[in-house]
């Protein structure tokens, strides 16, 4: 047993020496595996990064979040909606008043606008929302106050600025109490929001202005219809209940007959999350499998080189066989060489796979997240490829006839 172990070790060394003797060729052979492994890890990291940033954004909505859209939902989850929204501000008030499982409700209408303060101007998005908005989004005012119910009812021209907007228009930090002009209408700044930073998709969440939805609808949009409604259930456990209540209420209010399609639809945070998870999973699988193909090609490269190597070293194999190497010793030597090539290539690939996603994040601004699963998978796959593609050439070597092999020129 000890003899066999020692011999195994010796043959391992022989296999490794062959790699070191042909450094350039070994490197080129490994390149396929290196690129393949690095690709798999990077692609999966980009996919996972995108997916988790989307998830984080959705999760930041809160676990008891429900979104109400105009238009009917169809079965695949796709919304087909054209024409006017049937959801009114009265519906919003009714939901708040009549649905016990609902804690907060805020309409949300949006309008892009150029905003001017003194001699500075800034293009941003103005959201018309209700007073419940800070509670639904769990987003507090850092400076000043959020606008009040009175402001909403009177459609007051007041605004709460996102941190980025405040910085851009008021570099001196004197935003509070100033007046800004949105589409030429003067708005008084009553508050500045907490800074949230970019979301992980790279969008700056602080680049927005909040105003009472009544004001935005009347002054900026000129429509009494709501784009969407943000709703918070009392607790995560009451989300389904809240949805049932809202559904029943709105169908009644919109006079929709049983069996008829609703003119609105709802998505809970959970549903939004699972839909987008599905999408980003598809993306990850797609990217990962493209990369896996390159890994496979790398494996074929190893087989190719090993076959050439076996032919080229026929004489060496003949010598080894003549002086007493058994077929399995030769098999082992070449197999180990192939495995070592793919394992070392895999290791270099892993190193690159850990590095490249960082560069992607730094220079391309894409969120990436290296998962240990993909690292293990890529590395294991590389090793398996070494065994799989190394076996055929190694078996070929081990079956050579020593007499023919010694005569080979």
């Amino acid at each position: 047993m000890k003899v066999a172990t020692l011999r195994l070790w010796n043959i391992t060394k022989v296999g490794l020496q062959a790699i070191l003797r042909n450094k350039m060729r070994s490197l080129l052979t490994m390149l396929g595996i290196i690129i393949g492994v690095a690709c798999v890890i990077t692609m999966v990291a980009v996919g996972t990064g995108a997916s988790s940033s989307i998830q984080a954004t959705i999760n930041s909505l809160g676990t008891n979040f429900i979104m109400l859209f105009p238009g009917a939902s169809t079965q695949g989850g796709a919304r087909t909606f054209s024409g006017e929204s049937k959801i009114t501000t009265e519906d919003v008030d009714a939901i708040k008043a009549e649905c016990p499982a609902v804690a907060y409700v805020s309409p949300s209408v949006r309008s892009s606008a150029q905003v001017v303060a003194a001699d500075l101007n800034w293009g941003t998005t103005v959201y018309g929302v209700g007073v419940d908005w800070p509670f639904i989004r769990a987003w507090n005012v850092a400076d000043g106050d959020f606008f009040t119910d009175v402001d909403v009812r009177s459609a007051a021209k007041v605004a709460v600025l996102g941190a980025t907007v405040a910085d851009s228009l008021f570099p001196g930090g004197n935003a509070l109490g100033s007046t800004i002009r949105i589409k030429h209408l003067p708005f008084k700044v009553v508050g500045v929001l907490d800074r949230k930073g970019g979301n992980m998709m790279g969008q700056d969440q602080d680049d927005q202005i909040l105003a009472p939805y009544t004001t935005v609808m009347k002054q900026l949009q000129g429509t009494p219809r709501l784009g969407q409604v943000l709703i918070s259930a009392r607790s995560a456990g009451e989300v389904a209940e809240a949805q049932t209540e809202i559904d029943a209420l709105l169908r009644q209010r919109h006079r929709i007959q049983p069996g008829e399609e609703s003119d609105f639809s709802m998505r809970s945070q959970e549903e939004i999350a699972s839909t987008s998870a599905q999408t980003s999973k598809t993306l990850s699988v797609l990217l990962g499998s493209a990369a896996a193909i390159s890994l496979l090609v790398g494996g074929i490269g190893i087989m190719n080189i090993m076959l050439v190597s076996v032919t080229e070293r026929t004489r060496e194999i003949g010598i080894r066989l003549a002086i007493g190497a058994k077929g399995r010793h030769v098999l082992l030597q070449f197999l180990l060489e192939a495995i070592a090539l793919s394992v070392v290539g895999g290791a270099i690939g892993v190193a690159l796979g850990l590095l490249i996603p960082n560069l992607v994040t730094r220079f391309a601004g894409l969120p990436t997240q290296v998962s240990s699963g993909s690292v293990l998978l890529a590395f294991g796959f590389a090793a398996a490829i070494g065994i799989f593609f190394g076996f055929y050439p190694a078996r070929k070597a081990s079956r050579l006839d020593p007499i023919d092999a010694l005569r080979y020129e």
Binding site: R7, V14, E316, G324, K326
Partner: protein, 268 residues
């Protein structure tokens, strides 16, 4: 100890080449005692190479028995023959067959790598050095084959053949790639080994090389045609004109058929 090192009985070897069967050996019997120095001669196509392959356990006979060092090796499978080759036979080839880009000492260690001795790296290195020293290459252990002359390379090969302390040293045209002076040097090593008790079997087609052996077996048409003992002195070894200087060693043996009569004369 009393058993012959090589004992061949009625050995035949038939190659199939498509439809045609070619008999390379047609019933060869040969006994080589321990400590002999035998040269096997014969023209190409005589079955000499086939005999050498079977003697070296590289190939298997079609029929007949072959006992090597008391073991019947004629029916062994591939792996068993590999073990026998490793333990019992030291090969020396015409083209040296050293591993390129591998130091002399590593080349010599090679058989120990596959053997059943279970030697540690230190022991292997020690044996390798001893073996190289024995063929006069002490100090060249770390040279690569490309840094050595042909004669030195062949001596590395001999050191490799010796490192397992085999029952026989089987040399296949060991001087075929060497000039006459180097050939003499190499053959001298075989003679020294033989003097030290090693059994040497030399395959060659050069009469002046065969002349250094103590016994010449001439193979022709798949049969042993002649089997001669040579009485010779070793006084002139290494000299470039050994054959001429000592008529007793002159071996008037050529591959061309007309030489047959001459050979018989000398033999008698």
């Amino acid at each position: 100890m009393d058993a012959p090192v090589i004992e061949i009985r009625d050995l035949t070897k038939v190659y199939r080449m498509g439809e045609v069967e070619v008999s390379a050996l047609k019933g060869v019997s040969l006994t080589v005692e321990r400590g002999e120095f035998v040269a096997i001669m014969g023209p190409s196509g005589s079955g000499k190479s086939t005999l050498m392959n079977i003697l070296g356990c590289l190939d298997r006979p079609t029929a007949g028995t072959y006992r090597l060092d008391g073991i019947d090796v004629s029916r062994l499978d591939r792996d068993q023959r590999a073990e026998i080759r490793n333990a019992k036979i030291g090969f020396v080839f015409q083209s040296f067959n050293l591993l390129a880009r591998t130091r002399a000492t590593e080349n010599v260690e090679l058989p120990l790598l596959y053997g059943n001795l279970g030697l540690t790296a230190d022991e292997r290195a020690r044996r390798s050095r001893a073996s190289l020293a024995r063929v006069g290459l002490a100090g060249r252990e770390d040279h690569y084959p490309s840094q050595l002359s042909g004669g030195q390379q062949q001596r590395v090969a001999i050191a490799r053949a010796l490192v397992t302390d085999p029952a026989i040293v089987l040399a296949d045209e060991p001087t075929g790639n060497l000039d006459s002076r180097t050939s003499e040097e190499v053959i001298a090593i075989f003679q020294e080994l033989n003097d030290a008790g090693k059994t040497v079997v030399l395959i060659t087609h050069e009469p002046d090389i065969a002349a250094h052996a103590r016994r010449v077996v001439y193979v022709r048409d798949g049969l042993i045609w002649r089997d001669e003992k040579i009485v010779q002195t070793r006084a002139k070894l290494g000299g470039p004109a050994a054959g001429e200087a000592e008529p007793a060693i002159a071996f008037p043996f050529t591959i061309a058929p007309p030489a047959e009569e001459k050979l018989e004369e000398v033999a008698r």
